[in-house]
Symmetry: C2
Subunit: 361 residues, 2 copies
Amino acid sequence: MAYHTFTESNLRDFTKSIFLKMGCSANDADLAADVLIKADLRGIDSHGVARLTGYVRLWEKGRINPTPDIKIVHETPSTATIDGDAGLGLVIAPFAMKVAIEKAEKYGSGWVSVRNSNHFGIAAYHTLLAAEKDMIGFAMTNASPLVAPTFSNERMLGTNPMCYTFPAGKYPPVIVDMATSAAANGKLEIAQRTGKPVPEGWIQDANGQASVDPHELKKGGSLLPLGGDREHGSHKGFGLSATVDILSAVLSGANYGPWAPPFVSFMEPSANPVGLGLGHFLGAMRVDGFRPVDEFKNHMDNWIERFSSAKPISEDQRVIIPGEPELVAEKERTINGIPIIEEVCNDLNGLADKLGIDRLL
Amino acid sequence: MAYHTFTESNLRDFTKSIFLKMGCSANDADLAADVLIKADLRGIDSHGVARLTGYVRLWEKGRINPTPDIKIVHETPSTATIDGDAGLGLVIAPFAMKVAIEKAEKYGSGWVSVRNSNHFGIAAYHTLLAAEKDMIGFAMTNASPLVAPTFSNERMLGTNPMCYTFPAGKYPPVIVDMATSAAANGKLEIAQRTGKPVPEGWIQDANGQASVDPHELKKGGSLLPLGGDREHGSHKGFGLSATVDILSAVLSGANYGPWAPPFVSFMEPSANPVGLGLGHFLGAMRVDGFRPVDEFKNHMDNWIERFSSAKPISEDQRVIIPGEPELVAEKERTINGIPIIEEVCNDLNGLADKLGIDRLL
């Protein structure tokens, strides 16, 4: 696949220009660009600048408010609900995490449910804000319905990611950041581009029959929950996805389940919404709310070392600590630049022409 | 399979007598019996009275303290660490949940990490204590190492369950209660008794090769994380299991990973422990810390109705709401009694003879 490589700062400036053209404040444009560039740096290409076209289209449709009045609408010492005023999730989620961190500083932990938001980028961006403060970070979000519950062929849930981040001592944080579907949508998109069949258990066709055709989603098929089928625990993937949906949307007053607004602009949100926008759930717990930070970090280091050296099945592949591949990508791309596939480059340059800013190339 | 049916109160009295013989206080014996009987009522036979023999053996080995001094050793307004003094997890976990609930009453949420404990029974028992108070309940625990991380054939993690419980309005709570392994150990035990092969993706042999032989665990094999293999997302199951391990044990100062003490008395705990006993993590969040309880419950009811009526693949099987099968079992068994397989009856009567109490039959 043809691609072009850009420096982090090139991509960042370009991305910021787009958000400024949408009418975001300089601070918000900086922050939103930072979230997207972090995804590209970490090798999560599906959640980086490749999403810019999508955000712009939603803004053109009036579904993203570039100057939101983000505010706390309900709270206790350790909990809050935030209304994102239909702004960019990329800006609302860091705001919510800041509230969670402030509550944790005072009361040990902080938990924030968010309504009236949009796609928030990679969950790990937000949890890392907590980890930097010696806190354990939690982030989840509901998303456009693409996943069918066990026994159904109706798209009822998003790929609804959960993310847990634990600071360590001499090692980087352990980051569990995962879609609760068998495969993230980004992996399906890669298979669609290459035309290769996907493993059984990722998707089903419109009738609910197992399929390996990556284009099945365009023909009424659906993604499957983690586990794939009942025998392999898909009811657990469904349960996790339900947990994300309820904490993010039922708790905050956002749209849940099949009412979650689609990310793509060519599909209209429900005419009878059950809440406002998309929902997120973010949390921060002070490590020293449980034990001294140094003790915890020493044991995290020991945990990492012990799991890294667990007996490997094959000598050429040891156990991968959650978050490790993204860290490797971040180090490499910070030095060598970020490769963007030609298809996305063309999209971005089309966007530049439309909005009247400099092209990438 | 031959079985005998007992009334709830018969089984409860018997179980309480056993705990009294171990030296538990009347209150603790009541509580511990309640946790086990709840499992049997809910159809989770692997976690009910079938476990009594195991608890007694651990007590005989001096690994369970029947009169523990359970106490808070560290706290902030919304967090705490509890030392269970090597008592029964069946007693320690409800104590910890009570602390979490009290903190939630005052500060919106409460989060408790527990060290120096033992097996805590079914997680849903504890989360339901929160749901009764219009709170969202969280419970997880680490456990005896049986599960290999992705790419490894070493048993490093327990079946480490996660449980999330959400109160609803006219419907019972939604309860997501799941092992983070592809299959719970109880399901494997059933296959071992019937001699039937298990689905691929549940276990691997001692060399890390896929197997369908339910006896593989006795030959050095291991359970697999939810997902089964890398292609089907086993790194996600591993990540979830790691999350449970860290929140329950690294955070509290219990034994984590391969150091978690085995439940079976014939295996000795590690000679070089990294902490004290097993660990749990429990939490409670007040629903009205986020939005009015009635609003939340109305939307939960709507969530349940919408998901129950999602388009079914086959007309004879609609979507099952998490927690529904256990509720059906509880209703049925409360009326018709609890079936206990002969093998377990014999074990329990052996226990009765040994401890000098009345037999079940």
